[in-house]
């Protein structure tokens, strides 16, 4: 029996162990009496690293939906936002805008995941039976609608101010800023590793084979007895729930949510990361995300050297990112680490 014949879960198990270790380490560090001063120059790296951990969770959900099942979800940010707002509204205390209910944060985090999953189920139930491209439009529209709702229903969502006063459990335990940031970084990277382990386990099992078959040809998959709609729903809802989890974590890390955190920029970043790395390969999509977020980080420093304002520089950066994507699609259509034959693209 060759290696490929065995059910592969080697690196899934490794990631699970690493993930648990990181989470435990982060929590121990947070409650420990040690303190660290985080130098100003380093804090920007840690900040981006924390976001990277959350985005890894986002991109893994998207890779389950698009990379494996072929579902085009152009509104991934909405599930991230729903998770964040749900957690914020439930857990926040005395926010001066919007609703704050002051429930315990673990409850709020769980609710964030559940509500995002429910929104995913509703969008899926209405759109997944339609042609593929309808899902793209429906998800894009859902994201836009939710954004408008958060801005305008200010009694509930706090309008463009958003919701403040969300508890920050890590900060509450760790105390000072540097220690909080480091503990959060390790915690989020650990949770991202755990997500990787779970998603890998799912997609290397016969379950993943059915998902990839749906992407290849749904009718064939049905004609050999698989209820493809159920799988599409599941993949979509799992992706949404993961995004909701990332959203809840974001709210509890940031201490506040506002519409400006949940723009189409989030969707664009995870999509570009996934395509750049190579869809349907979990490691590749994380790699692609690292490239795109690394680029953004280093371009901040480049801005100091360039004779333009930061606003102008942001636009230039978008152009550069676009050009990189064009080059990748032209020369490596399956992504940097992707397999062209597995994705069915000509290279």
């Amino acid at each position: 029996m060759s290696v490929a014949d065995r059910i592969r879960d080697g690196d899934g198990t490794l990631a699970a162990v690493a993930g648990v270790a990181a989470v435990v380490l982060a929590l121990l560090f947070a409650v420990s009496p040690f303190t660290v001063g985080l130098p100003g120059e380093l804090s920007v790296f840690v900040e981006v690293g924390v976001l990277f951990g959350l985005y890894v969770i986002l991109v893994l959900g998207l890779d389950l939906q698009y990379g494996h099942t072929g579902l085009v979800n152009f509104g991934h940010v909405v599930f991230f936002a729903v998770g964040a707002y749900t957690a914020a509204i439930l857990a926040a205390q005395d926010s001066f805008a919007g609703t704050s209910l002051g429930y315990p944060w673990p409850l709020a985090l769980v609710a964030g995941v559940l509500v995002a999953a429910v929104v995913g189920a509703v969008v899926g139930a209405t759109s997944l039976r339609l042609r593929d491209d309808f899902l793209a439009i429906a998800t894009l529209a859902t994201a836009e609608i939710f954004h408008t709702v958060t801005v305008n229903f200010s009694g509930t969502f706090g309008g463009s101010t958003g919701i403040f006063g969300v508890p920050q459990p890590v900060a509450a335990v760790a105390g000072d800023f540097g220690k909080t940031m480091l503990a959060t970084l390790v915690l989020f990277l650990g949770l991202a590793a755990l997500t990787y382990a779970i998603v890998t386990r799912l997609t290397t099992a016969p379950y993943g084979r059915v998902l990839r078959a749906i992407r290849a040809d749904e009718l064939v998959t049905r004609s050999v007895g698989k209820s493809t709609f159920r799988y599409k729903m599941q993949a979509f809802v799992y992706g949404a729930a993961l995004a909701g989890f990332a959203g809840g974590l974001f709210a509890l890390y940031n201490g506040a949510v506002a519409p400006s955190f949940f723009t189409i920029q989030v969707t664009v970043t995870v999509w570009i990361g996934m395509l750049l790395g190579g869809a349907s390969n979990h490691r590749a999509v994380i790699g692609g995300l690292a490239v795109i977020m690394g680029l953004r980080l280093f371009s901040r420093f480049a801005n100091d050297l360039a004779p333009v304002t930061s606003g102008e520089f942001a636009s230039l950066r978008l152009i550069v990112v676009g050009m990189i994507l064009v080059l990748v699609i032209r020369y490596r259509p399956a992504g940097i680490w992707g397999d062209a034959e597995e994705l069915g693209v000509d290279s």
């Binding site: 059910i7 016969p206 078959a213 004609s223 050999v224 599941q234």
Partner: protein, 251 residues
């Protein structure tokens, strides 16, 4: 004993009657050929029976139960399995994976057993792997087992499709033009395999254009024209029937 019973089947596509008041029944263990000129409704008949399209009128009964308009996946699980005229392979998956996919009752295709890697699921998967390898070997595709299916030739795709549906161990196998675009040697090979399956007890219905192969292969031949049955009988009688000659050669 009747396995498949089609009564007064009708399928209309925007005013065009593709299948018109068609009745046909197939007994368990039979090997039936369905032929007819282009547009006679052969593929539409298969599509209606296998649940790919819903018939406008009429009923389809399989193994004594009404399955009219049932979904393809439900029919496949019950034992009614089909292939496609234009071979549909899962091009982005390997030959091995194509065959393994079709395995029925794999608990690992559900979320929790997949995550927990339950003992039962591992055991099933071992059997699936074994059975799939046997089929791949039986169809002489073993040298291509790890090749992506999109790289196969037309004939190899036909073989792969057969290997894949056999994974389901169907009671009734509907083959839509299994010899289309296949060279004469392979045509004979595929015909032998179909014959062997039937000898082992599988009920098979074959749609085909090519007269010679089909008449030599089947026990019973059904000729369709304009969406309904023209002649139904043993191959020799059918071929001598004047209406068949007319339908094929024109007046």
């Amino acid at each position: 004993m009747t396995l498949l019973d089609i009564v007064d089947l009708e399928k209309e596509f925007g005013g065009l009657l593709a299948v018109d008041d068609l009745s046909l029944s197939v007994d368990r263990g039979e090997l039936v050929g369905v032929m007819g000129p282009n547009g006679a409704g052969k593929s539409t008949l298969f599509n209606c029976v296998s649940g790919v399209v819903e018939p406008t009128d009429g009923t389809v009964a399989f193994d004594g139960e009404d399955v009219t308009g049932e979904q393809p996946e439900v029919l496949a699980r019950r034992g009614l399995v089909r292939t496609f005229q234009h071979t549909r392979q899962l091009g982005t998956m390997t030959v091995r994976e194509n065959v393994r996919l079709a395995a029925p009752d794999q608990a690992g295709e559900r979320t929790l057993p997949a995550l927990t890697r339950s003992q039962g699921m591992q055991e099933t998967e071992r059997r699936v792997v074994e059975r799939a390898d046997e089929l791949v070997e039986a169809f002489e595709l073993d040298h291509l087992a790890d090749e992506y299916a999109s790289n196969l030739s037309g004939g190899q795709r036909k073989l792969l499709e057969l290997a894949r549906v056999l994974m389901l161990d169907p009671d009734l196998l509907l083959l839509d033009e299994p010899f289309a675009g296949v060279n004469p040697t392979l045509t004979n090979d595929i015909a032998d395999r179909i014959r062997a399956l039937n000898d082992e007890g599988m009920t098979v219905v074959v749609i085909e254009h090519e007269l010679e192969t089909l008449t030599a292969l089947v026990d019973r031949l059904v000729v369709l024209t304009q969406g309904s049955v023209l002649v139904d009988g043993d191959p020799e009688t059918v071929l001598e029937d004047e209406r068949v000659v007319e339908a094929y050669l024109g007046e």
